[in-house]
Protein backbone atom coordinates (compact mmCIF):
# COMPACT_ATOMS: atom_id res chain seq x y z
CA UNK A 1 0.00 0.00 0.00
CA UNK A 2 1.54 3.23 -1.21
CA UNK A 3 1.48 5.06 2.14
CA UNK A 4 3.00 2.19 4.14
CA UNK A 5 6.79 1.86 3.82
CA UNK A 6 7.25 -1.39 5.80
CA UNK A 7 7.93 -4.49 3.74
CA UNK A 8 7.14 -8.01 4.99
CA UNK A 9 10.87 -8.50 5.44
CA UNK A 10 11.02 -5.37 7.60
CA UNK A 11 8.13 -6.61 9.69
CA UNK A 12 9.77 -9.97 10.24
CA UNK A 13 13.06 -8.38 11.26
CA UNK A 14 11.35 -5.95 13.60
CA UNK A 15 9.27 -8.65 15.24
CA UNK A 16 12.51 -10.51 15.77
CA UNK A 17 14.01 -7.58 17.63
CA UNK A 18 10.85 -7.18 19.70
CA UNK A 19 10.64 -10.90 20.38
CA UNK A 20 7.04 -11.26 19.23
CA UNK A 21 5.70 -13.83 16.81
CA UNK A 22 3.27 -11.66 14.89
CA UNK A 23 1.90 -8.15 14.77
CA UNK A 24 -1.37 -9.46 16.19
CA UNK A 25 0.52 -10.59 19.29
CA UNK A 26 1.38 -6.97 20.00
CA UNK A 27 -2.31 -6.40 20.65
CA UNK A 28 -2.31 -8.91 23.50
CA UNK A 29 -3.49 -6.32 26.00
CA UNK A 30 -6.80 -6.09 24.15
CA UNK A 31 -9.22 -8.75 25.43
CA UNK A 32 -9.93 -11.26 22.67
CA UNK A 33 -13.65 -10.60 22.87
CA UNK A 34 -13.06 -7.00 21.84
CA UNK A 35 -10.87 -7.78 18.85
CA UNK A 36 -12.45 -7.84 15.42
CA UNK A 37 -12.11 -11.15 13.64
CA UNK A 38 -12.81 -9.80 10.17
CA UNK A 39 -12.32 -6.52 8.32
CA UNK A 40 -15.02 -3.91 8.79
CA UNK A 41 -17.80 -3.87 6.23
CA UNK A 42 -16.38 -1.01 4.18
CA UNK A 43 -15.18 -0.66 0.57
CA UNK A 44 -11.77 -2.06 -0.31
CA UNK A 45 -8.72 0.12 -0.77
CA UNK A 46 -8.38 2.01 -4.05
CA UNK A 47 -5.61 3.54 -6.11
CA UNK A 48 -5.51 7.19 -7.05
CA UNK A 49 -7.22 6.62 -10.39
CA UNK A 50 -10.37 5.20 -8.85
CA UNK A 51 -10.48 7.66 -5.95
CA UNK A 52 -10.19 10.62 -8.30
CA UNK A 53 -12.88 9.19 -10.53
CA UNK A 54 -15.32 8.64 -7.66
CA UNK A 55 -14.77 11.96 -5.96
CA UNK A 56 -14.87 13.82 -9.27
CA UNK A 57 -18.25 12.28 -9.94
CA UNK A 58 -19.50 13.53 -6.56
CA UNK A 59 -18.07 16.96 -7.31
CA UNK A 60 -19.79 16.97 -10.69
CA UNK A 61 -23.16 16.65 -8.98
CA UNK A 62 -22.68 20.12 -7.49
CA UNK A 63 -23.22 23.50 -9.07
CA UNK A 64 -20.05 25.40 -8.24
CA UNK A 65 -20.76 29.01 -7.26
CA UNK A 66 -17.66 29.89 -9.22
CA UNK A 67 -19.07 28.54 -12.48
CA UNK A 68 -22.34 30.49 -12.68
CA UNK A 69 -23.57 33.99 -11.82
CA UNK A 70 -23.77 33.87 -8.03
CA UNK A 71 -24.79 36.41 -5.47
CA UNK A 72 -24.53 34.44 -2.24
CA UNK A 73 -23.24 36.00 0.96
CA UNK A 74 -24.70 35.76 4.45
CA UNK A 75 -21.34 35.24 6.12
CA UNK A 76 -19.33 33.54 3.37
CA UNK A 77 -18.18 35.37 0.22
CA UNK A 78 -16.87 34.38 -3.18
CA UNK A 79 -13.65 36.25 -3.79
CA UNK A 80 -10.69 35.78 -6.06
CA UNK A 81 -7.69 34.19 -4.38
CA UNK A 82 -4.42 34.93 -6.22
CA UNK A 83 -2.61 31.85 -7.49
CA UNK A 84 0.47 32.55 -5.37
CA UNK A 85 -1.52 32.08 -2.16
CA UNK A 86 -2.60 28.53 -2.78
CA UNK A 87 0.82 27.62 -4.11
CA UNK A 88 2.58 28.92 -0.99
CA UNK A 89 0.28 27.26 1.56
CA UNK A 90 0.89 23.94 -0.15
CA UNK A 91 4.64 24.07 0.47
CA UNK A 92 5.25 21.03 2.62
CA UNK A 93 7.06 23.08 5.27
CA UNK A 94 3.83 24.99 5.90
CA UNK A 95 1.22 22.38 5.06
CA UNK A 96 2.69 19.48 6.99
CA UNK A 97 4.25 21.19 9.98
CA UNK A 98 3.02 20.82 13.54
CA UNK A 99 1.91 23.47 16.00
CA UNK A 100 5.04 25.54 16.72
CA UNK A 101 5.71 24.25 20.25
CA UNK A 102 9.43 23.82 19.37
CA UNK A 103 10.05 27.37 18.22
CA UNK A 104 13.67 26.82 17.18
CA UNK A 105 12.51 24.81 14.19
CA UNK A 106 9.21 26.54 13.53
CA UNK A 107 10.26 30.14 12.90
CA UNK A 108 8.50 30.10 9.54
CA UNK A 109 5.11 29.43 11.10
CA UNK A 110 5.75 31.69 14.08
CA UNK A 111 6.92 34.70 12.10
CA UNK A 112 4.00 34.31 9.70
CA UNK A 113 1.61 34.23 12.66
CA UNK A 114 3.25 37.31 14.18
CA UNK A 115 2.68 39.10 10.88
CA UNK A 116 -0.90 37.78 10.80
CA UNK A 117 -1.59 39.07 14.31
CA UNK A 118 -0.25 42.46 13.25
CA UNK A 119 -2.38 42.56 10.11
CA UNK A 120 -5.54 41.68 12.05
CA UNK A 121 -4.83 44.40 14.59
CA UNK A 122 -4.25 46.91 11.77
CA UNK A 123 -7.38 46.23 9.74
CA UNK A 124 -9.64 46.16 12.82
CA UNK A 125 -7.85 49.14 14.36
CA UNK A 126 -7.35 47.26 17.63
CA UNK A 127 -4.21 46.77 19.71
CA UNK A 128 -3.64 43.00 19.85
CA UNK A 129 -4.96 39.95 18.03
CA UNK A 130 -4.59 36.20 18.54
CA UNK A 131 -3.37 33.52 16.17
CA UNK A 132 -6.90 32.54 15.07
CA UNK A 133 -10.00 30.64 16.19
CA UNK A 134 -12.21 28.14 14.37
CA UNK A 135 -14.52 30.68 12.72
CA UNK A 136 -16.28 34.00 13.29
CA UNK A 137 -19.19 32.41 15.15
CA UNK A 138 -17.12 30.52 17.73
CA UNK A 139 -14.88 33.58 18.06
CA UNK A 140 -18.02 35.57 18.97
CA UNK A 141 -18.95 33.02 21.64
CA UNK A 142 -15.41 33.17 23.04
CA UNK A 143 -15.64 36.97 23.06
CA UNK A 144 -18.76 36.80 25.20
CA UNK A 145 -17.09 34.41 27.64
CA UNK A 146 -14.08 36.72 27.81
CA UNK A 147 -16.34 39.71 28.47
CA UNK A 148 -18.01 37.72 31.25
CA UNK A 149 -14.61 37.04 32.81
CA UNK A 150 -13.45 40.62 32.47
CA UNK A 151 -16.58 42.24 33.89
CA UNK A 152 -17.54 39.43 36.28
CA UNK A 153 -21.06 39.56 34.80
CA UNK A 154 -22.97 36.81 33.04
CA UNK A 155 -25.34 38.19 30.45
CA UNK A 156 -24.81 39.12 26.81
CA UNK A 157 -27.06 41.52 24.89
CA UNK A 158 -27.23 40.52 21.25
CA UNK A 159 -28.22 42.78 18.37
CA UNK A 160 -31.14 41.66 16.23
CA UNK A 161 -29.03 41.76 13.10
CA UNK A 162 -26.20 39.55 14.29
CA UNK A 163 -25.78 36.62 11.90
CA UNK A 164 -28.29 33.98 13.10
CA UNK A 165 -25.61 31.28 13.20
CA UNK A 166 -23.43 33.49 15.40
CA UNK A 167 -26.36 34.11 17.73
CA UNK A 168 -27.18 30.40 17.80
CA UNK A 169 -23.61 29.49 18.75
CA UNK A 170 -23.51 32.11 21.50
CA UNK A 171 -26.82 30.79 22.84
CA UNK A 172 -25.55 27.20 22.84
CA UNK A 173 -22.43 28.20 24.77
CA UNK A 174 -24.57 30.32 27.07
CA UNK A 175 -26.79 27.42 27.95
CA UNK A 176 -23.88 25.16 28.86
CA UNK A 177 -21.33 27.64 30.14
CA UNK A 178 -23.87 29.29 32.38
CA UNK A 179 -24.49 32.74 31.01
CA UNK A 180 -27.71 34.35 29.80
CA UNK A 181 -28.44 36.04 26.51
CA UNK A 182 -31.01 38.63 25.51
CA UNK A 183 -31.76 40.11 22.13
CA UNK A 184 -32.81 43.60 21.13
CA UNK A 185 -33.24 45.47 17.85
CA UNK A 186 -30.22 47.57 16.97
CA UNK A 187 -31.78 50.90 17.88
CA UNK A 188 -32.92 49.60 21.29
CA UNK A 189 -29.55 48.27 22.43
CA UNK A 190 -28.36 51.29 24.39
CA UNK A 191 -31.67 51.54 26.20
CA UNK A 192 -31.51 47.85 27.14
CA UNK A 193 -28.20 48.16 28.99
CA UNK A 194 -28.16 47.45 32.71
CA UNK A 195 -25.72 46.38 35.42
CA UNK A 196 -26.12 42.70 34.61
CA UNK A 197 -24.87 42.98 31.03
CA UNK A 198 -21.25 42.02 30.36
CA UNK A 199 -21.25 42.89 26.67
CA UNK A 200 -23.28 43.96 23.69
CA UNK A 201 -22.66 42.02 20.49
CA UNK A 202 -23.29 43.82 17.20
CA UNK A 203 -22.34 43.08 13.61
CA UNK A 204 -21.07 45.60 11.10
CA UNK A 205 -22.01 45.47 8.25
CA UNK A 206 -25.07 43.83 9.80
CA UNK A 207 -26.60 40.55 8.70
CA UNK A 208 -29.03 42.38 6.39
CA UNK A 209 -26.14 44.44 4.99
CA UNK A 210 -26.54 47.69 6.94
CA UNK A 211 -23.45 49.77 7.67
CA UNK A 212 -23.73 51.68 10.92
CA UNK A 213 -21.66 53.72 13.34
CA UNK A 214 -21.54 52.17 16.80
CA UNK A 215 -19.45 54.88 18.49
CA UNK A 216 -22.39 56.13 20.55
CA UNK A 217 -23.27 52.58 21.59
CA UNK A 218 -19.66 51.99 22.64
CA UNK A 219 -19.87 54.99 24.95
CA UNK A 220 -23.17 53.80 26.39
CA UNK A 221 -21.68 50.36 27.01
CA UNK A 222 -18.64 51.75 28.79
CA UNK A 223 -20.84 53.94 31.00
CA UNK A 224 -22.76 50.83 31.99
CA UNK A 225 -19.54 48.87 32.64
CA UNK A 226 -20.09 46.60 29.67
CA UNK A 227 -17.87 45.76 26.70
CA UNK A 228 -18.76 46.31 23.06
CA UNK A 229 -18.11 43.28 20.84
CA UNK A 230 -18.25 43.95 17.10
CA UNK A 231 -18.51 41.03 14.69
CA UNK A 232 -17.46 41.39 11.05
CA UNK A 233 -18.50 38.63 8.69
CA UNK A 234 -17.00 40.19 5.54
CA UNK A 235 -13.43 41.35 6.31
CA UNK A 236 -13.05 43.06 2.95
CA UNK A 237 -15.43 45.70 4.34
CA UNK A 238 -12.62 46.83 6.65
CA UNK A 239 -10.86 48.22 3.60
CA UNK A 240 -13.53 50.84 3.10
CA UNK A 241 -15.78 51.43 6.10
CA UNK A 242 -15.12 52.90 9.53
CA UNK A 243 -13.26 50.34 11.62
CA UNK A 244 -14.65 48.76 14.78
CA UNK A 245 -11.61 50.03 16.67
CA UNK A 246 -12.35 53.60 15.62
CA UNK A 247 -15.90 53.14 16.95
CA UNK A 248 -14.60 52.15 20.36
CA UNK A 249 -15.05 48.39 20.25
CA UNK A 250 -13.45 46.42 23.08
CA UNK A 251 -13.36 43.11 21.24
CA UNK A 252 -13.56 42.52 17.49
CA UNK A 253 -14.33 39.09 16.09
CA UNK A 254 -14.47 38.33 12.41
CA UNK A 255 -14.77 35.66 9.79
CA UNK A 256 -11.58 35.75 7.73
CA UNK A 257 -12.72 33.40 4.94
CA UNK A 258 -12.98 36.20 2.38
CA UNK A 259 -9.21 36.49 2.16
CA UNK A 260 -7.10 33.54 1.03
CA UNK A 261 -9.68 30.83 1.70
CA UNK A 262 -12.07 29.06 -0.67
CA UNK A 263 -15.80 28.78 0.03
CA UNK A 264 -15.40 25.00 0.38
CA UNK A 265 -19.05 24.45 1.35
CA UNK A 266 -18.63 26.10 4.72
CA UNK A 267 -15.26 25.08 6.11
CA UNK A 268 -12.51 25.20 7.17
CA UNK A 269 -12.90 28.90 7.86
CA UNK A 270 -11.02 31.36 10.02
CA UNK A 271 -11.94 33.16 13.21
CA UNK A 272 -10.22 36.48 13.89
CA UNK A 273 -10.06 37.84 17.42
CA UNK A 274 -8.70 41.25 18.41
CA UNK A 275 -8.93 43.36 21.54
CA UNK A 276 -7.36 46.15 23.58
CA UNK A 277 -4.00 45.66 25.28
CA UNK A 278 -5.54 45.89 28.75
CA UNK A 279 -7.47 42.67 28.00
CA UNK A 280 -4.48 40.89 26.51
CA UNK A 281 -4.15 38.22 29.18
CA UNK A 282 -7.86 37.44 29.04
CA UNK A 283 -7.73 36.53 25.35
CA UNK A 284 -8.48 32.94 24.42
CA UNK A 285 -6.42 31.03 21.93
CA UNK A 286 -2.79 30.97 20.93
CA UNK A 287 -0.62 34.08 20.88
CA UNK A 288 2.69 34.55 19.11
CA UNK A 289 5.22 36.86 20.70
CA UNK A 290 8.60 38.32 19.84
CA UNK A 291 11.75 37.51 21.80
CA UNK A 292 15.46 36.76 21.32
CA UNK A 293 17.42 33.52 21.23
CA UNK A 294 20.61 32.52 23.03
CA UNK A 295 22.69 34.35 20.39
CA UNK A 296 20.62 37.52 20.67
CA UNK A 297 18.86 37.02 17.34
CA UNK A 298 15.22 38.00 17.10
CA UNK A 299 12.83 35.07 17.08
CA UNK A 300 9.19 34.29 17.76
CA UNK A 301 7.49 31.95 20.22
CA UNK A 302 4.03 30.97 21.38
CA UNK A 303 3.57 32.98 24.54
CA UNK A 304 1.25 33.60 27.48
CA UNK A 305 0.65 29.86 27.24
CA UNK A 306 -0.05 29.54 30.92
CA UNK A 307 -3.63 30.63 30.14
CA UNK A 308 -4.16 27.73 27.74
CA UNK A 309 -5.56 24.25 28.19
CA UNK A 310 -2.31 22.33 28.12
CA UNK A 311 -1.08 24.14 31.23
CA UNK A 312 -4.05 25.71 33.01
CA UNK A 313 -6.30 22.73 32.26
CA UNK A 314 -9.63 23.35 34.00
CA UNK A 315 -8.91 27.04 34.61
CA UNK A 316 -7.94 27.76 31.00
CA UNK A 317 -9.33 30.79 29.16
CA UNK A 318 -10.60 28.37 26.54
CA UNK A 319 -10.21 24.69 25.73
CA UNK A 320 -9.08 25.52 22.19
CA UNK A 321 -5.99 23.66 21.03
CA UNK A 322 -5.81 23.22 17.25
CA UNK A 323 -7.11 26.39 15.62
CA UNK A 324 -6.97 27.50 11.95
CA UNK A 325 -3.24 27.89 11.33
CA UNK A 326 -3.09 27.25 7.60
CA UNK A 327 -6.22 29.33 6.92
CA UNK A 328 -4.58 32.16 8.86
CA UNK A 329 -1.47 31.79 6.71
CA UNK A 330 -3.54 31.93 3.53
CA UNK A 331 -5.31 35.05 4.81
CA UNK A 332 -2.00 36.65 5.68
CA UNK A 333 -0.39 35.91 2.33
CA UNK A 334 -3.41 37.22 0.44
CA UNK A 335 -3.47 40.42 2.47
CA UNK A 336 0.30 40.80 2.08
CA UNK A 337 -0.09 40.52 -1.69
CA UNK A 338 -2.89 43.09 -1.71
CA UNK A 339 -1.12 45.58 0.52
CA UNK A 340 -2.68 48.91 1.46
CA UNK A 341 -3.44 49.97 -2.10
CA UNK A 342 -4.74 46.59 -3.20
CA UNK A 343 -6.90 46.02 -0.13
CA UNK A 344 -8.54 49.41 -0.33
CA UNK A 345 -9.07 49.04 -4.06
CA UNK A 346 -10.56 45.59 -3.57
CA UNK A 347 -13.01 47.05 -1.08
CA UNK A 348 -13.93 49.94 -3.40
CA UNK A 349 -14.50 47.47 -6.22
CA UNK A 350 -16.77 45.31 -4.07
CA UNK A 351 -18.85 48.28 -3.01
CA UNK A 352 -19.07 49.66 -6.54
CA UNK A 353 -20.27 46.36 -7.93
CA UNK A 354 -22.87 46.08 -5.18
CA UNK A 355 -24.08 49.62 -5.88
CA UNK A 356 -24.42 48.83 -9.58
CA UNK A 357 -26.37 45.72 -8.70
CA UNK A 358 -28.61 47.57 -6.27
CA UNK A 359 -29.31 50.31 -8.80
CA UNK A 360 -30.66 47.69 -11.19
CA UNK A 361 -32.57 45.49 -8.78
CA UNK A 362 -34.27 48.25 -6.80
CA UNK A 363 -35.99 49.19 -10.04
CA UNK A 364 -37.65 45.79 -10.33
CA UNK A 365 -41.43 46.08 -10.00
CA UNK A 366 -42.67 45.22 -6.54
CA UNK A 367 -39.16 44.95 -5.15
CA UNK A 368 -37.99 47.12 -2.27
CA UNK A 369 -34.35 47.70 -1.28
CA UNK A 370 -34.32 47.44 2.52
CA UNK A 371 -30.71 48.55 3.06
CA UNK A 372 -29.95 52.25 2.48
CA UNK A 373 -26.28 51.98 3.45
CA UNK A 374 -24.32 48.83 2.72
CA UNK A 375 -20.88 47.50 1.77
CA UNK A 376 -21.21 44.61 -0.69
CA UNK A 377 -24.45 42.98 0.43
CA UNK A 378 -28.05 44.18 0.83
CA UNK A 379 -31.57 42.88 1.44
CA UNK A 380 -34.38 42.98 -1.10
CA UNK A 381 -37.98 42.52 -0.07
CA UNK A 382 -39.74 40.68 -2.86
CA UNK A 383 -43.45 40.60 -3.51
CA UNK A 384 -43.36 36.80 -3.20
CA UNK A 385 -41.49 34.20 -1.12
CA UNK A 386 -37.80 34.24 -1.94
CA UNK A 387 -36.86 30.59 -1.46
CA UNK A 388 -38.95 29.06 -4.28
CA UNK A 389 -37.76 31.83 -6.55
CA UNK A 390 -34.11 31.13 -5.73
CA UNK A 391 -34.67 27.40 -6.32
CA UNK A 392 -36.26 28.13 -9.70
CA UNK A 393 -33.39 30.40 -10.74
CA UNK A 394 -30.91 27.74 -9.64
CA UNK A 395 -32.37 25.29 -12.13
CA UNK A 396 -31.61 27.93 -14.76
CA UNK A 397 -27.99 28.24 -13.64
CA UNK A 398 -28.17 31.37 -11.50
CA UNK A 399 -27.46 31.43 -7.76
CA UNK A 400 -29.54 34.47 -6.94
CA UNK A 401 -28.69 35.02 -3.29
CA UNK A 402 -29.64 33.65 0.11
CA UNK A 403 -33.33 33.60 1.05
CA UNK A 404 -33.36 35.14 4.51
CA UNK A 405 -35.80 32.54 5.77
CA UNK A 406 -33.16 29.85 5.37
CA UNK A 407 -31.76 31.36 8.57
CA UNK A 408 -34.70 33.41 9.89
CA UNK A 409 -38.05 31.71 9.24
CA UNK A 410 -40.04 34.84 9.96
CA UNK A 411 -38.86 36.64 6.78
CA UNK A 412 -40.02 34.59 3.82
CA UNK A 413 -40.00 37.37 1.23
CA UNK A 414 -36.52 38.72 1.95
CA UNK A 415 -33.51 37.95 -0.21
CA UNK A 416 -29.87 38.69 0.71
CA UNK A 417 -27.86 39.61 -2.35
CA UNK A 418 -24.09 40.10 -2.44
CA UNK A 419 -21.63 41.28 -5.10
CA UNK A 420 -17.85 41.06 -5.13
CA UNK A 421 -14.96 41.90 -7.45
CA UNK A 422 -15.87 38.70 -9.33
CA UNK A 423 -19.33 39.98 -10.26
CA UNK A 424 -19.41 40.87 -13.96
CA UNK A 425 -21.78 43.09 -15.91
CA UNK A 426 -23.08 39.94 -17.60
CA UNK A 427 -23.83 38.46 -14.18
CA UNK A 428 -25.78 41.55 -13.19
CA UNK A 429 -27.70 41.49 -16.48
CA UNK A 430 -28.49 37.82 -16.01
CA UNK A 431 -29.84 38.26 -12.49
CA UNK A 432 -31.83 41.34 -13.39
CA UNK A 433 -33.44 39.62 -16.37
CA UNK A 434 -34.13 36.40 -14.49
CA UNK A 435 -35.75 38.16 -11.53
CA UNK A 436 -37.76 40.40 -13.81
CA UNK A 437 -39.16 37.38 -15.55
CA UNK A 438 -39.74 35.37 -12.41
CA UNK A 439 -41.64 38.22 -10.76
CA UNK A 440 -43.99 38.80 -13.66
Amino acid sequence: MRYLPLTDEDRRAMLGVIGAKSVDDLFGDVPAALRLSAPLDLPSGLGEIEIERELASLAAQNMAAGAVPSFLGAGAYRHHVPAAVDYLVQRGEFLTSYTPYQPEIAQGTLQALFEFQTQVALITDMEVANASMYDGATAAAEAVMMANRATRRAKALIAGDLHPHYRAVIETYGRFNGFATAMAPVDALAASLDAAISCVVVQNPGFFGDVRDYAALAEACHKAGALLVVAVTEVVALGLIKSPGAMGADIVVAEGQSLGNALEYGGPYLGLFATREKFMRQMPGRLTGQTVDADGLRGFVLTLSAREQHIRREKATSNICTNSGLCALAFSIHLALLGEAGFTRLAELNHAKAVQLAERLEKLPGVKLMTPSFFNEFTLRLPRPAAPLVDALATRGILAGVPVNRLLPERPNDLLVAATELTTDADIDALDAALREALR
Binding site: R281, S305, A306, R307, I311, R312, K315
Partner: protein, 127 residues
Protein backbone atom coordinates in the same frame (compact mmCIF):
# COMPACT_ATOMS: atom_id res chain seq x y z
CA UNK B 1 9.77 36.13 62.45
CA UNK B 2 7.22 34.63 64.77
CA UNK B 3 4.38 36.63 63.22
CA UNK B 4 4.51 34.68 59.93
CA UNK B 5 2.18 31.82 59.17
CA UNK B 6 1.97 29.49 56.17
CA UNK B 7 -0.75 27.67 54.24
CA UNK B 8 -0.62 24.24 52.64
CA UNK B 9 -0.83 26.02 49.28
CA UNK B 10 2.45 27.79 50.01
CA UNK B 11 1.16 31.26 50.78
CA UNK B 12 2.63 33.18 53.70
CA UNK B 13 0.92 35.80 55.85
CA UNK B 14 2.78 38.24 58.11
CA UNK B 15 0.58 39.80 60.77
CA UNK B 16 1.07 43.22 62.29
CA UNK B 17 -1.79 44.15 64.59
CA UNK B 18 -4.93 43.69 62.53
CA UNK B 19 -3.10 44.29 59.24
CA UNK B 20 -1.43 41.49 57.32
CA UNK B 21 0.89 41.17 54.32
CA UNK B 22 0.52 38.14 52.04
CA UNK B 23 2.72 36.51 49.43
CA UNK B 24 3.89 33.14 48.15
CA UNK B 25 6.80 31.31 49.71
CA UNK B 26 10.30 30.83 48.43
CA UNK B 27 9.48 27.14 47.99
CA UNK B 28 6.55 28.07 45.73
CA UNK B 29 8.54 30.47 43.55
CA UNK B 30 11.19 27.81 43.10
CA UNK B 31 8.57 25.31 41.99
CA UNK B 32 7.02 27.71 39.51
CA UNK B 33 10.22 28.85 37.85
CA UNK B 34 10.65 32.33 36.42
CA UNK B 35 7.50 34.28 37.29
CA UNK B 36 6.14 36.18 34.30
CA UNK B 37 2.94 37.68 35.65
CA UNK B 38 1.01 38.15 38.86
CA UNK B 39 -2.70 38.87 38.90
CA UNK B 40 -3.53 40.73 42.09
CA UNK B 41 -6.88 41.56 43.70
CA UNK B 42 -8.04 45.18 43.55
CA UNK B 43 -7.78 47.45 46.55
CA UNK B 44 -11.10 47.36 48.35
CA UNK B 45 -11.93 43.80 47.36
CA UNK B 46 -12.99 41.47 50.15
CA UNK B 47 -11.06 38.22 50.03
CA UNK B 48 -12.24 35.05 51.74
CA UNK B 49 -10.04 32.58 53.58
CA UNK B 50 -9.34 29.59 51.37
CA UNK B 51 -10.82 31.20 48.28
CA UNK B 52 -8.92 32.40 45.23
CA UNK B 53 -7.43 35.89 45.56
CA UNK B 54 -5.13 36.01 42.55
CA UNK B 55 -3.05 34.07 40.05
CA UNK B 56 0.69 33.70 39.62
CA UNK B 57 2.03 32.66 36.21
CA UNK B 58 5.32 31.29 35.03
CA UNK B 59 6.09 30.11 31.50
CA UNK B 60 5.23 26.53 32.35
CA UNK B 61 2.55 26.89 35.00
CA UNK B 62 -0.20 29.05 36.37
CA UNK B 63 -1.33 28.73 39.97
CA UNK B 64 -4.16 30.18 41.96
CA UNK B 65 -3.13 32.20 44.98
CA UNK B 66 -5.56 31.63 47.85
CA UNK B 67 -6.28 33.99 50.71
CA UNK B 68 -4.85 32.64 54.00
CA UNK B 69 -7.36 34.71 55.92
CA UNK B 70 -10.42 36.80 55.19
CA UNK B 71 -10.25 40.57 54.98
CA UNK B 72 -10.38 43.68 52.85
CA UNK B 73 -7.50 44.42 50.51
CA UNK B 74 -5.79 47.67 51.55
CA UNK B 75 -2.76 47.68 49.25
CA UNK B 76 -1.25 45.70 46.38
CA UNK B 77 2.37 45.45 45.26
CA UNK B 78 2.04 47.38 42.01
CA UNK B 79 5.77 46.98 41.35
CA UNK B 80 5.14 43.37 40.39
CA UNK B 81 3.46 44.47 37.16
CA UNK B 82 6.76 45.74 35.74
CA UNK B 83 9.04 43.38 37.60
CA UNK B 84 7.48 40.00 38.39
CA UNK B 85 11.00 38.65 38.85
CA UNK B 86 10.92 40.21 42.32
CA UNK B 87 8.86 37.25 43.42
CA UNK B 88 11.69 34.92 42.47
CA UNK B 89 14.37 37.14 43.95
CA UNK B 90 12.73 37.87 47.29
CA UNK B 91 9.47 36.01 47.73
CA UNK B 92 9.28 36.67 51.45
CA UNK B 93 10.10 40.37 51.22
CA UNK B 94 10.02 42.61 48.11
CA UNK B 95 7.91 40.00 46.33
CA UNK B 96 4.88 40.46 48.59
CA UNK B 97 1.50 40.42 46.82
CA UNK B 98 -1.12 42.32 48.81
CA UNK B 99 -2.08 43.56 52.26
CA UNK B 100 -5.39 43.13 54.05
CA UNK B 101 -7.23 44.38 57.05
CA UNK B 102 -7.84 41.13 58.92
CA UNK B 103 -11.50 40.30 59.38
CA UNK B 104 -10.96 37.69 62.06
CA UNK B 105 -7.67 36.80 63.76
CA UNK B 106 -9.04 33.33 64.47
CA UNK B 107 -8.51 32.60 60.73
CA UNK B 108 -4.81 32.20 61.52
CA UNK B 109 -5.39 29.41 63.99
CA UNK B 110 -5.06 26.49 61.58
CA UNK B 111 -2.02 27.83 59.70
CA UNK B 112 1.52 26.46 60.07
CA UNK B 113 4.37 28.24 61.83
CA UNK B 114 7.96 28.32 60.51
CA UNK B 115 8.95 24.95 61.91
CA UNK B 116 5.81 23.19 60.75
CA UNK B 117 6.14 24.67 57.26
CA UNK B 118 9.80 23.60 56.97
CA UNK B 119 8.78 20.09 57.87
CA UNK B 120 5.88 20.24 55.43
CA UNK B 121 8.05 21.27 52.48
CA UNK B 122 10.77 18.79 53.35
CA UNK B 123 8.18 16.03 53.15
CA UNK B 124 7.06 17.24 49.70
CA UNK B 125 10.52 16.36 48.33
CA UNK B 126 10.23 17.77 44.83
CA UNK B 127 13.05 17.46 42.28
Amino acid sequence: MSNIRYTKDHEWIRVDGNEATIGITDFAQNQLGDIVYVELPEVGRKVEKGKEAGVVESVKAASEVYAPASGEVTAVNTGLADDPARVNADAMGEGWFYKIKLADAKDLGDLMDDAAYQAFTAAQDKH
